[in-house]
Amino acid sequence: MRSGWLIREARLRAGLTQTELAERTGRDRAVIARWEHEAAAPSMETLVDIVRACGFDLPLVLVPYDTGRDERLESNLNRSPERRLEQLLATLSSSGRKRG
C-alpha cells in the first residue's frame, strides 16, 4: 500500500480537487501533487490527517500476507484480458454454470 494512492483515493472519494484538499489542510497544492505522484511521502501522522480532511479515517490493522494470492495475480497479469475472461468462463462452466 502506498501513501500516494491513499491520498488520491480519499480525495477522489470526497470529490475534491488537489487545490481544495490543499486549502483544507493548509498545504500547497504542489505538495499534495507530489505526495499523490509519490515523488515524496508524508509521515504516517500527516497521512492520517490528510485522509481525515477528506472525511475518512485510516484504521491500521495487520492481516496475514497471502503469498499464494500474489502468485495468482501475477499469473493473471501475464494473461491478456481476453484470456482472463476465457479463464473465468471456463471456471464457471466447470462449476456447472452454462455458457452462452
Binding site: R84, R97, G100
Partner: protein, 168 residues
C-alpha cells in the same frame, strides 16, 4: 434454462451494436484487469444523457432484458428516483446498471483513466483503471470486500512493478 446463461461477450456485443457509451465496472471489470474472482454478471455505468439512454433501451430490448427486481418503472423514472442499482435479467445473463458507482462521481469521473480492452470475437470494452476499481471496492465498506480491496491494491503494485502500467 436461459436464466442460467452467462455470455458477457453477447451482452457487450449488443451494447456496442447499439453504440451505447458505457464502462464495465464491478467484479467482471476487476477480473478483466487481473483480479482472481468469480462472477456471473455484468455491471456497467454510463453517461445519463437522453441519446445514450435511448441507445441503452434499444440494447436492452435486443437482449430481452427484464427488470430483475420486478419493478415496472421506466429507466428515466428509476434514475430520477435515485436508484443505486438497476438490475436486469437478459437472455445472455445478468446485467446491472449503476448510475453512480460507490466512491465516484459517475461515468465522467472514471472515463479519464479507463482503457479499452479486447475480449475476443471482435468485442472491445472500456474498463476503469485498477486504482479506480479499488476506489469503488473501498467505498462499498462491506466486510466481504476487504479481501477484494487488498487484492486490487496488490494487483496495482504488481502491475506497476512489472511494467504493465505503461500505455501499450
Amino acid at each position: 434454462m436461459a436464466e442460467e446463461e452467462f455470455d458477457p461477450l453477447g451482452i457487450f456485443a449488443e451494447l456496442n451494436r447499439q453504440k451505447v457509451t458505457y464502462l464495465l465496472i464491478g467484479a467482471l471489470a476487476r477480473v478483466i484487469q487481473g483480479a482472481d474472482e468469480l462472477t456471473h454478471g455484468v455491471d456497467i455505468t454510463l453517461p445519463l444523457g437522453e441519446e445514450n439512454l435511448r441507445r441503452l433501451e434499444l440494447a436492452l430490448e435486443g437482449l430481452n432484458a427484464r427488470p430483475r427486481d420486478h419493478r415496472r418503472l421506466g429507466m428515466q423514472e428509476r434514475l430520477e428516483r435515485g436508484d443505486e442499482v438497476i438490475p436486469f435479467q437478459t437472455d445472455k445473463g445478468e446485467l446491472k446498471l449503476v448510475p453512480v458507482p460507490a466512491g465516484t462521481q459517475g461515468y465522467d469521473d472514471l472515463r479519464r483513466r479507463m482503457s479499452r480492452e479486447y475480449l475476443g470475437h471482435g468485442v472491445r470494452v472500456a474498463v476503469p483503471s485498477i486504482d479506480d476499481l479499488s476506489r469503488m471496492v473501498g467505498a462499498m465498506g462491506r466486510d466481504q470486500d476487504i479481501e477484494r480491496l487488498l487484492a486490487m491494491r496488490r494487483l496495482a503494485e504488481l502491475e506497476r512493478s512489472i511494467g504493465h502500467g505503461l500505455e501499450l
